[in-house]
Symmetry: C2
Subunit: 244 residues, 2 copies
C-alpha cells in the first residue's frame, strides 16, 4: 500500500504527465499529517517550478499560501480582497479582512494630519509628535483630522520594562506608543507571546511576539511599548472584519 | 449539547470540586480544534494557578508543554531525560534527544580546548579564534581535543549576503561560523525559514529562522553565517537521537 505522501506524489505525477497549461490543486494536503504536509509543500512548489507549470492552489492554510505562492489571492465571501505577493499581502494588506486573515493584526488608532501617495503623516495624540507611515488610504475616503487604524504585527512591537523609562535601543525606527499591562505570557521556545492591555487608543488586546532573548515579562508587569515605524501600515477605512 | 470546549470545562470543574491534592491531565486537548486548544491552554493554566492545584499534564505537543508548565519532564523510552523549566529545557537541553524534541536543533562541530564548570572554550578549526560557550559536558566523558556538538537554534543564526563580507552589526555576541548556500526559503509572515548547506563542519542541513525585516534570500544564494554566542550550547556526548 502507498503512504499518504506517496499517493499525493502519484496523483501529482499523473496530472503533470499530460503537460497541462494550468494545474488546479484544491486543498491537496489537508488529509496529511503535519510533518508530511510541510515536506509536500516544498515538493509541490519544486515540481511546479522545475516543470514550468502554472498552478492555482486553493487552501485555507495561511502558512501554505504564504510559503508556496508567487502571488496569492485572498477571497472573502466570493470577492478577491487582494491579489499580490505574499510579502505585500502580509505587510501591506489592502483591507482589514486580509490583515486579520493572514496573521494577528494589532490596530492602534491615530489621527491623520495629511498624506501623499505613499506616506501618511499621523500622531497618536494632540500632544505627541508626528511621524510618517505607509498607507492604503484613498483621498476620497478620508480627510485630515480623521482617526485611522495603524496595523502593527506582533513581531514589530517591542516592550521594555516601564520602570526603566529609556528607549531600549538607539534604533531610530522605533516609535514610542505608550504604556501597557501584561495580561498573559506564553513561552514557545524561539518566541514568547504576550497579550497586553494598552493605555492608549487601540482596538482590543495587543499581541506581541518577542524573541527568546528579550527580557522576560510576567502577568501584571507594566511595559513601555515601541513600534517599528517601517513595519506599521495604515489600513484603508473599510468596515469588514474577520473578528467574530 | 455542549461544545468541545464546554465539555472540557465541565470535566475540569468536576475534577476540581473535590479539591484534589494532585490533578492528572492526560492529553486533555487532543480532540479540540486548533483555536479552541490555544484558548483552553490559557484557561487550564489559569484555573490551576488560581485554585492552587498542582497538575501533571501529559502531552505530545511541545508548544503545550513549553507554554503551560512551570517544570517539564521530557521522557524518551520511559526514561526522564530532563526535568527542568521550559526555558532551560529549550535553551540548555540535557541531551540530544531533548534538543531535537523541543524544536529544531542545528549542530555545529567544534574542537574543545578546555572547560570549567560552566563554560567550554572551543574553536571551529585550528586557524580560527577560541570562544566560550556554556556546556553540559562531563569531564569524565570528554577530554581536550575532542570534537563536541554546539547546538544553535534556528532563530539564533544570522545570515548576511556573502558578497558584503562585513559583520552585519556591531553586536559582540555574534560569532562568524562560515559560509553556507541557501537550499530553500519559505516565507511565513512574521518569519522566513531558510534551509542552508554549511561549508564548515556540522551535522546535516542548517535551519535558520529570520525575522521578516531581514534581507531576502533565494535558493542558491551564498551567505555568511553568524551565531549568537550566548545562545549556543555544547551538548553532552551522548548517542541518543530522535532523528529517524
Amino acid at each position: 500500500a502507498l503512504s499518504g505522501g506517496q499517493q499525493q506524489r502519484v496523483a501529482l505525477a499523473r496530472a503533470l504527465v499530460i503537460r497541462p497549461n494550468l494545474l488546479l490543486l484544491d486543498e491537496p494536503l489537508s488529509n496529511l499529517d503535519a510533518k508530511l504536509r510541510i515536506e509536500m509543500r516544498r515538493e509541490i512548489r519544486r515540481i511546479c517550478k522545475q516543470s514550468g507549470t502554472t498552478a492555482i492552489y486553493v487552501t485555507h492554510d495561511q502558512d501554505e499560501a504564504l510559503s508556496m505562492s508567487d502571488r496569492m489571492a485572498v477571497l472573502n465571501a466570493g470577492q478577491v480582497q487582494q491579489c499580490d505577493t505574499p510579502v505585500n499581502s502580509y505587510r501591506k494588506p489592502a483591507s482589514r479582512f486580509v490583515a486579520e486573515f493572514l496573521g494577528e493584526a494589532n490596530l492602534v488608532l491615530a489621527e491623520l494630519a495629511d498624506m501623499d501617495a505613499q506616506f501618511a503623516r499621523v500622531r497618536l495624540a494632540a500632544d505627541r509628535p508626528m511621524f510618517h507611515v505607509e498607507h492604503a488610504l484613498s483621498t476620497t475616503q478620508v480627510r485630515p483630522g480623521a482617526v485611522v487604524s495603524l496595523m502593527v504585527r506582533p513581531a514589530d512591537l517591542h516592550p521594555v520594562p516601564a520602570a526603566s523609562d529609556s528607549n531600549p535601543t538607539v534604533d531610530a525606527d522605533l516609535i514610542p506608543l505608550g504604556h501597557a499591562r501584561v495580561l498573559d505570557s506564553q513561552f514557545f521556545g524561539a518566541t514568547t507571546s504576550l497579550a497586553v492591555e494598552g493605555e492608549f487608543p487601540l482596538e482590543g488586546i495587543l499581541r506581541i511576539q518577542t524573541s527568546a532573548h528579550g527580557a522576560a515579562f510576567n502577568e501584571g508587569d507594566r511595559v513601555a511599548l515601541y513600534g517599528s515605524q517601517s513595519a506599521m501600515w495604515v489600513l484603508p477605512q473599510d468596515t469588514t472584519t474577520s473578528r467574530a
